[in-house]
C-alpha cells in the first residue's frame, strides 16, 4: 500500500505526469468533471435539453448549495458544522408557526410572513453563534459542539411540531419565492446566485476572509499577527447558522409539503460532500465558494444523469461515495507533494 504512494510520487517526479497538468487537474478538477458531465448529458440524455430542465436542476441544488457556502467557510477555518441540517428544519418550522398565526397570533398572513422570516433567521444565527461560543470559549471540538446542536435543535423542532402536518402552501412567501422572474427563472435560483456572488466577493475582498483563511492556515501565526481568532470563529459559525436558516426558507419554498421532522436531515452531509468535491481542503486554509457551487451542481447532475440512464438512484449513491473519496485523496496528494 505504501508502495502505491511511492510509485505515485515517483511517477510525478519523473515527469511522467507533467507537473503542470497535475496542478491544473487539482485546481479545476471539479469544473472539468462538471463540463464533461454536461457535455455527456447534452449528447446522450435529455436532462439539459430545455430551459425548464436546467432551472429544475438548479432549483433542486439550491438548499445543498446554500448550506455548502456556509460549510465552505467553516471548513476553511479547519472546523466543521454538522448542525446545519437541523437548523434548516427548525427554521422552516418556526417560519410556519409564525406566519400561520399559531405563534404570536398574527392574523394577517402577509404580515405574519414578514415577521416570521427575520425571527427565524435570527434564531438560526444565534444557534450558530452558540456553536462558535462552545468551540472558542469552552474549547469543545467543532464536531462535538455541532453534534450537540444537531441533536438538540432537531429535538426542538420535533417538540414544536408535536406531530401535526404542515402545509406551507398558503404562505405568500412560498408562492413568491417559487415564482418566476422573466417568465422562466425561479426566484430561488436568483437567491442562490446572489448568495454565491456575495460570498465569493466576500472571500476575495474583505479582511474578514483573510482572517478566516489565516486561522485555518496557521492559527498560531494568525494569533501572533493580531487576528481576533475567537471573534472570527464565532462569526463564521454564526454565518453558517444564518445560511442554514436561509436554506431552510428556500427549501420550504420549493417543497411546500415538507415534513418538518425530516426537513434537512442529512443535508449537512450533502454540503460537506459538495465542499470536498469542489476542492476546498478539509484541513482548512483555503476556500473556494465557486468550487463548492460546482461540486453541488455536479453531484446533483450526476444523480439526475444516472436516473436518466435508467440506472437506479442507489448506484448513484455508490458512485458519489467513490467520487468523494477520490476527490479528497487527490487533495491529500497535493498537500503532500
Amino acid at each position: 500500500m505504501m508502495r502505491l504512494e511511492q510509485r505515485w510520487t515517483a511517477l510525478k517526479v519523473r515527469g511522467v505526469l507533467p507537473q503542470k497538468l497535475f496542478t491544473i487537474g487539482q485546481d479545476y478538477g471539479a469544473l472539468i468533471a462538471l463540463v464533461v458531465l454536461i457535455l455527456f448529458n447534452l449528447a446522450f440524455t435529455r436532462q439539459l435539453n430545455s430551459v425548464i430542465a436546467i432551472t429544475n436542476l438548479l432549483v433542486h441544488v439550491t438548499p445543498a448549495l446554500i448550506l455548502g457556502v456556509g460549510m465552505t467557510l467553516v471548513i476553511a477555518t479547519g472546523g466543521i458544522d454538522i448542525s446545519v441540517g437541523s437548523i434548516m428544519g427548525l427554521t422552516g418550522i418556526l417560519t410556519y408557526l409564525i406566519f400561520s398565526g399559531k405563534w404570536f397570533g398574527i392574523q394577517n398572513i402577509v404580515v405574519g410572513t414578514i415577521v416570521a422570516m427575520p425571527v427565524a433567521l435570527v434564531v438560526a444565527t444565534l444557534i450558530g453563534a452558540f456553536n462558535g461560543l462552545l468551540i472558542t470559549r469552552f474549547k469543545v471540538q467543532p464536531i462535538v459542539a455541532t453534534l450537540i446542536a444537531l441533536i438538540t435543535v432537531r429535538g426542538l423542532a420535533e417538540v414544536t411540531v408535536n406531530g401535526f402536518q404542515f402545509a406551507f402552501l398558503s404562505a405568500p412567501i412560498v408562492s413568491w419565492l417559487s415564482g418566476n422572474v422573466l417568465g422562466f427563472l425561479p426566484r430561488q435560483i436568483i437567491l442562490m446566485a446572489i448568495i454565491v456572488a456575495v460570498f465569493t466577493w466576500l472571500m476575495r475582498a474583505t479582511s474578514f476572509s483573510r482572517y478566516l483563511l489565516s486561522i485555518g492556515g496557521n492559527q498560531a501565526a494568525a494569533r501572533l499577527a493580531g487576528v481576533p481568532v475567537n471573534r472570527i470563529l464565532i462569526i463564521v459559525y454564526a454565518l453558517s447558522g444564518l445560511l442554514a436558516g436561509v436554506a431552510g426558507l428556500a427549501f420550504i419554498a420549493f417543497d411546500s409539503a415538507a415534513n418538518p421532522v425530516t426537513l434537512g436531515v442529512g443535508k449537512e452531509l450533502d454540503a460537506i460532500a459538495a465542499v470536498a468535491v469542489g476542492g476546498t481542503p478539509l484541513t482548512g486554509g483555503r476556500a473556494t465558494i465557486l468550487g463548492t457551487a460546482v461540486g453541488a451542481i455536479f453531484i446533483q447532475l450526476l444523480r439526475q444523469t444516472v436516473v436518466a440512464l435508467n440506472v437506479p438512484d442507489d448506484i448513484a449513491s455508490v458512485i458519489i461515495g467513490f467520487l468523494i473519496v477520490l476527490a479528497v485523496f487527490l487533495q491529500h496528494q497535493r498537500k503532500a507533494s
Binding site: A205, T206, N218, A222
Partner: protein, 509 residues
Amino acid sequence: MQENTMLLRMEHVTKRFPGSVALSDASIHVERGEVHALIGENGAGKSTLIKVLTGVYSCDEGTILFNGHSGPFQSPQHAQRGGISTIYQEINLVPFRSVTENIFLGREHFRWGLLDWRKMHVEAGALLERLHLSIDVTRPLNTYNIATQQMVAIARAISFKSKLVIMDEPTSSLSDDEVATLFTVIRQLKEEGVATIFVSHRLDELYAICDGITILRDGSTVDERPINTISKLELVARMLGKEVGSVQQSGLTSFDASRHHTGEEVVLEASGLRDGRKLRSASVKVHTGEIVGLAGLLGSGRSEVARAVFGADHVEAGTIALNGKEVKFRAPEDAIRAGIGFCSEDRKIDGIIPDLSVRENLTLAALPVLTRNGIVDRKQQEEIVERFIQRLGIKTAGPEQKIRELSGGNQQKVLLARWLCLNPRLLLLDEPTRGIDVGAKGEIQKLVEELAEGGMSVLLISSELEEIIEGSDHVVVLRDGTTVAELAREDLSQDAILTAMAHGAGEAS
C-alpha cells in the same frame, strides 16, 4: 586506551539535507561508563548527530562503531535492540495512559496470553524507586507534572538495559532536587558500566556530572576533551566560534557601531518576569530610538521575554510598562494596537500562513488599517507590498505568489515587512537574520538601524554575537531565565558577554 573501553566511535560523519549541510565531519567518542556532554548552539547539529546514531537518519559519510559492531542502525527500534536508549526533549510518551503502560509500551509482559498488569506495575514501581520516585504507577501520565513525566521517560529508557543512554535536555523541566536525583541515577548507571550522552546547555550541570565533552559548531566537532581541561569561558567561546581575549574585530556586520541615538524616554520596561521554568526573573528596559540587544544561550528565555511583552504568552508574575503606564495584554492584538510588533523566531511554526500569497502575508497585521467598512483597500495594499518588496529586496515571482514557494530567507523578509509596514514604536525581533544570506543580512541590519534613528525602539534577539555587539546601544544578558548582566555601550565587548553567559553575574570563572 584499549579498544574495549571505547563504546562509541563516530567519525567524519556528514549528513546533507536538500539545501543545507547539517553535519560535516562531525565526530564523537564515548567510553564505557562515561558521562559525555554534547553541546552546541542552535543549528550546530546535536540532534542530527543523535538521530544519525539512533537510526532515525542515515548518514552520507562517516563511520559508526558501537559496542564492537560497525555500521549505522536502520531504525530507532534497531538501535534500541542494539543497546541504545534515547530520551527525547519533547516527552514522547502517551499522556493518557498510565505510568506503567508508558514504561512498557511495545514490550509488555504476558501471562496466559493476556497482559500481566500486576507484574508490570511491580516492575514499574521498582524502576521508579531507583529514581527515588514513589508514585502511583497506575495513574495516567498526564496527572503528573512535567518533571515527573520526564522521570518516567528516563525510567523507560533505563529499563531497556542499554549500554548507552542518550538524554536530550533532560533537566529542562526539573527542579534542583530532581536534578540531583537524576545525577545520582546517572552515577549508578556509570557504576554499572552504562554510558550516558548528556545534551544540555546548562553549563553548571555539565561541569557537575560529565566526564568528557564534545563541542559542535555549524555541523562539525570543534573540540573533544575531558571537561575538566576546559574553562567555562573557553567553552562558551568555542561554542560560538570566538577567541577569548582576542582583539575585537569591527565592521563584521552592517551595523555602524558609531551611530546610535538613544532618547530619554523609556518606551518599554519589563521587570521580574516569571513563568514556569523558562523565566525566573527577567527584566529589560528600552528607550526611544534605542536598540537593546538581548543575549543569552539557547534556552535562556529570550524568546519567552519577547512573547510575554507581546502578550502572546501569559506570565505568572512580573510587570510590563509601556511609556510609563503598566499594561496587561491579553492577546497579541492588544499589543499591536499599542504599537508593538513581533517577528517570531520560527517562521514555519507561527510566522507564515503557507497557502496565502506574499501580499496577504505581508499585510496581515496591517489589515485593520487597510480596511474600510470591512473591505480591503486593494490599491493601498498593493502599493505597500510593492514598496516593501523593493525595500527589502524580496525575491518573488510577484506579490500573488504563494509564500510557501519562496525560499526561507525571502519568507523571513516578508514577515519582517509585515511588522515594518505598521511602523510600530517598539519592534521585537527574534533572530531576524536567521537563515538569510549574507547580503540580505546586511540590508536588514542597515534597515533596523535606520528605523532606530527614526525613533523606533528595537529589542533585538540574536544568537550572533557580532550583531549584538555592533548593533546594540545596550545589552541585556539572560541566563536560565534571569537577567544576569546589563552592559552599556562602553562596556560592550565579546568577552564581557561571553563571561556573563558563562557565569552569570558575580561568579568567578
